[in-house]
Structures are given as structure tokens and as C-alpha cells.
Amino acid sequence: MRSFVPIAIVVAALAVVPLLVHSNVVLNFLVVALMIALAGQGWNILGGYGGQYSFGHAIFFGTGAYVTAILQVKFGVNAWLAFGTGIAAGAVVGVVVGWLAFRAGLRGSYFALVTLAFAEVLRILASVTPITGAGVGTLLKLDLRFAALQFESRAVFYWLILALVAVALIVTYAVERSRFGAWLTAVRENEDAARALGVDAVAVKLGAMVISGAITAAAGCFYSQYFLFVDSHIAYGAWISVEALLTPIIGGAGTIFGPLVGALVVKALGEGALLVTGQAPGLDLVVFGIVLIAVVGLAPRGLVGLRAQLAARWRRARAGEASRG
């Protein structure tokens, strides 16, 4: 169980932050960064470990956000129950989309396209159907009680999202060690070879899609509780599909801590860009895009893998010198 230790250390270190820092700005920054990390952790299971690059993870984020909001506002369901149902709904959407896409044998570009298209369909539908509040969106009632899953103090929200991130870290760890995880990475590396070894590739990818959907949906559920508002652009917009894949890719796809590292770095860069330009829209995303291209080009294993990559290069250079000398 020695490998649990890094997770425990990281989570514990993050947990004490609100005790040391009381600035609402800083806490708000961290809450949003952790929420994006959570969305990215979902993507990482399917994309990082399974090699199935979704360009439409908004389908899960948005479903979680809407289910949480609508159940409370339209049906008077308890906030905690609505939150849990939102996560389950993400898993169900994962089953449906995954079953359709993987049964049809979609991979690579095609899988990216079909997820993108599903997100667009849901966004357009959500912008016209009455139950989502159509173009106006859905507003949650301010109700600062524990039972309503709303808190006066940002610190409590912070610990809530940190707890969710911690659960996702442990799930990722468990996946990585398990038979399912071995099969999933095998499918990523070479699907035909995996099938020859008895791996039911469709079932494995479907499983990854379900876990992935549930985790990213949890980030959406949290969004609704934290901001108390959701509309079709927030829920199913391209921004979250992009950020959900950006964070693991930059941090290190297929690694346990990749999405967390990526989210903190990406969000810090974004804030920096906005600070420099005085909140003008666009520049933060320009920075994200450049970082994405740079990481893919220069550090294909992400920031987490960078150390190993540099060490390997150094060793090779040394070996080269030794053989020449």
C-alpha cells in the first residue's frame, strides 16, 4: 500500500491550505482549479489510460450540472441526493454514448468527432427545451445550509471539491493497478493485440467511459452547487470539453497526478494572462492552446513525465559521451 502515500501527502497538503490562507480570491481560484482537475481526472481514465480521445466531455459535465440543478429547482429533491443522481446520470450517459460509439467501432478522429457532435446536440437541445430553462438557464435558490449542500465559507466548498478529487485519485490508482487497468492500457497501445489476448475491447472501453463519465459529471454537479447557476453554454459548451482534456494532457495523460498538476498550472497561467491584459477575454485561452501544442510537441508525457524524460535524455547523452570517449 506504499503507493497510497503520495496521494495521502498531496491531499493532506492541499487540505491545510484554507487554514493558512484566508483570501477568498485564492480559495476561489483553487476551488475552480480543483473542479477542472476533477473534470480532467474523468477524461484521463478514458483518454489517458484508454487512449480514446474525447473532444466532448461536456456531455458529462453538463449532464451532472443540469441534473443537480433541475432536480432541486423543478422537483424539490434534496441537494445531496441530486448531487449523487447527477454523478449516476453521468455514468448512464457514458453507457449510452459509449455503447453507440464503441459498438460502431469508432476510434481516433471518428471518436473525437462523435463525442464533439453529441456535446453540440445536447447544447442546442438544452438551449431550447423548457426544463433546462432554455436560453435563460437555471438558477438555484440561495440556501446556506448543510442540508442544501451550500456553505457560507468557501473553505467548506474547497474541502468538498478536494474530497471529490481525492476519491478520483484513489479510483485512478485502483484502476492503474487492476486487471481492468492493464486491459485498458493494452487497448490503448494496440487494440488488435489486446483482443488476441482475450480482452473484450468494447467492454473495457465502455467500462472506462462509465467511470470517466461519472467523475467528470461530479465536477459538473459541483459547478451547480458552487455557482448556483447553469445554462447551455456553461454546461455543454466547448470550454469544458477543452479544459477537461487540456489538464491531463499538460499534466501527464495516463498518470495519477497528471490532471491535478495540469489544472493548477493551466489555471495559474490563465489567471496570469488575464492579470497582464486586464481581464480582456481570449488571451488566457491563447496561452492554453500554445501550452497544449508545446507540451504535445516537447513533453509528450506531460509535466509529470518531464522529469523522467529529461533524466532519460541526460543518461543517453552521458552514454553517448562515454562510448565516444
Partner: protein
């Protein structure tokens, strides 16, 4: 039942809009046919070209139809450089990386435009924007007719390039058998970049054809490109006739479904076709069964 008085113009309009869709799709399918990736930066490049056409008119006073001869070569060069110096080197030859890099480019271009020009919607004012030809039973808008003719001109030029020139032959060789082409001494990186440049030039032409009647803002290209994805999938990835026919079909479907369902649900119709085709027949209606 709707009367032919409404139906026929809707049909014709659909065909004419479809021609521009076809042009955007042509660029996409060309790139897919050779590089085997979907260029997710296609929409952002279309938007950028529309901005170029806009400023060519506003600043230099060049009519959008004339600026084709300026902007298409410019965007060929941009496309060539992007593939040669950004997408190619950053992807390490992995398809998954190419997807990510083109997505990253899309994010960069679109938001650089947003940062530079704000979210304002801009239009240009040309005298022929609302001119139309009376066919007796209906009217044809002049700009759409010009677009329709221009698309076929572009298709012919592309076909001539592909069949008559050395680079065209090299492109077809690489599309068919990359390794073999490489062994025969063809510079694959160059061919990839030329193809990407041609695809980008196609959207540049489309942008110039759109500007007289359409508007531009930093997200303007996306609407077209999602439709273009649909067309390319419908027509079969990499199939040029598929892109042209698919573009016309989708133009008509959109025009008719907007008539019956309203604009936004009309778009849902397209995406549902898209998803259905992907799931049932991913090789497209014209593509050969794998």
C-alpha cells in the same frame, strides 16, 4: 402542406448554401484523404480568412470576390507553414497528437481573434449583396449564385492540380501508399504541408465567398465547420465527389429543416444525421466498405 412558392426557393437556397459548405468540406476531406486526420483547426482558419477578407475590403477597399486571389495564396502559405513547422514536428507522427495539435491551434487562432477584435459581429457592405435574378417562378440571390459557380471552379482547379502536376501526383501517391511514396524519393513532409495548404486555401476561398452576405465574429467559422464535419463523414472521409454531393445534400436538408423546425432545431437535425451516419456507416455514403 407547404406550397411550392415557399418550397422551391428554400430548395434552391439550400443548394447554393450547400455549395459553400461543400467548399469547406472539400478542404477538410482533402487533408483527411492524405494525412488521415481531421483538422480541428479548420473552422478557426475559416474565421481567420473571413477576417482577412473583411479587412481587405474595409482597409484596402478590395472587393471580396477579387480578394480571393490575394487571400487564397496567403492562406495556402499559412496552411503550409502550420503543417510544416507546427503540426508535423509537434505530432511525432502520431495521429492522436495531430488531433490535439489541431485542436490547440483552433483554440489559439479563435481566441487570438477574440482578443484582437472582441466579440463584435462585423459585416461589409457591397452593392450586390441583395441583388437577385428573377427566374420567373423564384429569385436567385446573386452572391449565392457566384458562390455556387466559384465552388465548381475551385473543384475543377483542384482536380487539374491533382491530375496534371507533379505535386498532384505526389499527393495522390502519398495518400495511397505513404511508405512506398517515401521509398520512391517523395518528400512526405512537403506533400503533407502542400495538402494542408490546399485545404486551407479552400476555406480561404469559402471565406471570400461568404463575406458579401454573411457576418464575421471570432466564432463564425465554427457553425460551418461542424456542418463540414457532417458532410465529410456523409460523403466518405477523403472523397472529393463525396464532399461536393454531401455539401449540397446538407445545404438542402438544413434549409428545409429550418423551414419546418426553426433554425436551432434545424441544426440538431444535421447533427443527428451526422451521428447516425458515424454510427451506422462510418465510411460514408460514398466510401467503399472497409
Amino acid at each position: 402542406m407547404l406550397s411550392p412558392v415557399i418550397l422551391i426557393p428554400a430548395l434552391l437556397n439550400g443548394l447554393l448554401t450547400g455549395a459553400v459548405y461543400a467548399l469547406v468540406a472539400l478542404g477538410l476531406t482533402l487533408i483527411y484523404g492524405v494525412l488521415h486526420i481531421i483538422n480541428f483547426a479548420h473552422g478557426a482558419l475559416l474565421t481567420a480568412a473571413m477576417f482577412a477578407a473583411y479587412f481587405a475590403f474595409q482597409v484596402l477597399g478590395i472587393d471580396p470576390y477579387l480578394s480571393i486571389f490575394l487571400i487564397a495564396p496567403l492562406f495556402f502559405a499559412i496552411g503550409y507553414a502550420l503543417q510544416r513547422f507546427v503540426i508535423g514536428p509537434a505530432s511525432h507522427g502520431e495521429d492522436r497528437n495531430m488531433l490535439l495539435v489541431t485542436l490547440g491551434l483552433a483554440v489559439v487562432i479563435e481566441n487570438a481573434l477574440l482578443f484582437g477584435f472582441r466579440a463584435d459581429t462585423r459585416t461589409i457592405d457591397v452593392p450586390y449583396a441583395f441583388q437577385s435574378i428573377d427566374l420567373g417562378f423564384t429569385y436567385l440571390a446573386v452572391p449565392r449564385l457566384v458562390g455556387f459557380v466559384a465552388v465548381f471552379a475551385v473543384a475543377v482547379v483542384l482536380w487539374l492540380i491533382m491530375t496534371l502536376t507533379d505535386i498532384g501526383r505526389a499527393i495522390r501517391a502519398v495518400a495511397k501508399e505513404k511508405l512506398g511514396a517515401q521509398l520512391a524519393g517523395i518528400d512526405v513532409a512537403h506533400v503533407y504541408a502542400v495538402t494542408f495548404g490546399l485545404g486551407t486555401a479552400c476555406v480561404a476561398v469559402a471565406a471570400c465567398l461568404l463575406m458579401p452576405t454573411y457576418y464575421v465574429n471570432p466564432g463564425a467559422g465554427n457553425a460551418f465547420v461542424l456542418v463540414a464535419f457532417t458532410i465529410v463523414v456523409l460523403g466518405g472521409m477523403g472523397s472529393v465527389p463525396g464532399a461536393v454531393v454531401g455539401g449540397l445534400v446538407i445545404g438542402v436538408v438544413e434549409s428545409l429543416s429550418s423551414l419546418f423546425l426553426g433554425d436551432s432545431l434545424g441544426q440538431v437535425g444535421i447533427f443527428l444525421i451526422f451521428i447516425a451516419v458515424l454510427l451506422v456507416r462510418p465510411q460514408g455514403l460514398f466510401g467503399a466498405k472497409a
